[in-house]
């Protein structure tokens, strides 16, 4: 069996970034496996701009952002294989993959970084009643059709879900000549960035109907329309508000799910709050030597944050290959009041750690408190505004961690 020090699964921004970071931390024997025909991952179809403001201090399009990392990969001569599907990973880090040139092959990896990204939640996950005609796509599928394959998926469009991809597609389809009738959002607030609500919807006079959903889909061969209705505070449709809207296309932008099939095959325990692996501050999972970063670990708002995490995972893998793994801190990190999840979920060494977390609701003026299991407040920070759609961070210093070895630390919100 071939032996490789570090195998990276996925050649998107997380995988490329992690490979580059591991190389720069001293790893030379690296192989990136990518199932698509080119590197770049989902960025290749995200042709709009706005990527890289944090990382590069400029607004790049998706392909431009990906190209920056691809160049770094080439500059270091890091090996990668395209059109290569990984089928299996074991706890002992044996990676089974296949492509049309080499057939099925196995690699014994010293360390593995999981960077498979995420997938869109499909119609089947929504239980939307109605017929099953053609013309219902996830927003990302429509994006791929238009931006990579050059096909228009429809002319009169209703979009369900106001996530960023849905908003971006509302503008994209309008610019390409389609009539985007409306964007419906089940929640009383949008999950998308303000920038996208303004530049994608308001710019093109597309109405955003909050607290609304699709209650029926019409059409035999092709979608001919939908019935929409307002929902009450428990998100149940108020049928007296139901009205029909004519359309030939429905786009779904209703959330992303980390793609962890391979993670499960390697018996890596998953956190049901993030739908990704439990990791320590270096992004190592519960299986020593298997790391994870990017959207496979938890869904990020910005690719810039994905790469911040990929740097950590790449350096973590390099350190593991050199020194192995030993848990010297045994600190557990947990979400408290008003916080949905924290990442990392544990801290295995006393070293400065940024904890990423998401809140459960929109708040104005709150305090973020970090406490230990004795109730001692270790840190308190004010925030002018928090929202579930925007990831928050707190930094735990070495001093704080040294004083809390073996304890559980929680992150919670306090109204002020």
């Amino acid at each position: 069996m071939t032996k490789v020090d570090l195998v990276v699964i996925g050649g998107g921004p997380a995988g490329m970034g992690a490979a580059v970071a591991a190389y720069d931390a001293g790893v030379r024997d690296i192989l990136v496996l990518e199932r698509d025909v080119r590197l770049g991952g989902i960025l290749e179809q995200c042709i709009h701009n706005g990527f890289g403001l944090h990382r590069f201090n400029e607004q790049l399009t998706g392909p431009e952002y990906a190209w920056r990392f691809e160049k770094e990969l080439h500059a270091r001569n890091i090996a990668y294989r395209l059109n290569t599907m990984v089928l299996d990973i074991t706890e002992d880090k044996v990676v089974t993959a296949m492509n049309s040139e080499e057939g099925v092959f196995q690699i014994q990896a010293g360390a593995v970084i999981l960077a498979m990204g995420c997938r869109e939640r499909p119609r089947g996950a929504l239980n939307t009643p109605g017929a099953r005609p053609a013309g219902i796509y996830t927003a990302g599928t429509a994006q791929r059709y238009i931006n990579i394959m050059g096909y228009m998926p429809g002319k009169k469009v209703v979009i369900l879900g106001s996530g960023d991809i849905g908003l971006i597609m509302a503008r994209r389809m309008t610019w390409e000549g389609a009539e985007v009738k409306m964007v419906l959002e089940l929640m009383p607030y949008s999950g998308g960035l303000t920038r996208n609500i303004v530049q994608c919807l308001q710019d093109n006079n597309i109405p955003l109907l909050l607290s609304h959903t699709i209650v029926d889909i019409h059409g035999k061969d092709r979608v001919t329309g939908v019935t929409i209705a307002e929902v009450d505070e428990n998100r149940r449709p108020k049928m007296e508000t139901a009205q029909e809207v004519e359309c030939d296309t429905i786009l779904l932008s209703v959330g992303l799910l980390p793609e962890n099939e391979l993670t499960k095959k390697a018996n890596v325990p998953l956190d049901r709050l993030t739908n990704g692996a439990y990791v320590d501050q270096r992004r190592m999972t519960e299986i020593p030597g298997i790391f994870a970063c990017g959207n496979v670990l938890h869904v990020h708002d910005l690719v810039d944050y994905v790469n911040e995490e990929a740097d950590i995972a790449g350096q973590g893998a390099a350190q593991y290959l050199k020194d192995g793994a030993e848990d010297t801190a045994k600190i557990t990190v947990k979400p408290g009041n008003g916080v949905r999840y924290t990442l990392p979920q544990r801290i295995s060494a006393v070293e400065k750690t940024t904890v990423f977390f998401r809140v459960t609701d929109v708040h104005k003026a709150v305090k973020v408190n970090v406490k230990n299991d004795e109730g001692t407040v270790l840190l308190s920070r004010r925030r002018p505004r928090v929202a579930p759609g925007e990831m928050e961070t707190v930094v735990l210093t070495e001093k704080i961690l040294a004083e809390n070895v073996g304890k559980t630390i929680s992150v919670e919100l306090e109204e002020v």
Binding site: N49, E64, G150, W175, E176, T194, I197
Partner: protein, 118 residues
Amino acid sequence: MEQREIICTTCPMGCHVTVTMEDGKILDVKGNTCPRGDAYARQEVTDPRRVITTTIGLTDGNVLPVKSDNAVSKNRIPEFMQKIHHVAVKPPVQIGDVLIPDIDGEGNNIVATQNATA
């Protein structure tokens, strides 16, 4: 007097900025929490601009992502989209190549945002 409400998109705060105007002249800007909001709102009420991102046809039948190298007049976007639709570019193309020079008569170009091999 006319009042226009602009949502600033410079940062995630999303301040609602109210601009008071008379005969096309800005009398007052309120509601912003930093100077960037003031500048954004003034630009937005007088000359709104956006970077266009779309795809252009290649002679081999594929499409290639492109953008305008600077923000262009928002109101003229349909006109620019028409022009881009009527061009087919022969590969190879390098990222950053100018594919349509001076699309708006103000010196802004349509450039490739991805590589295409011949």
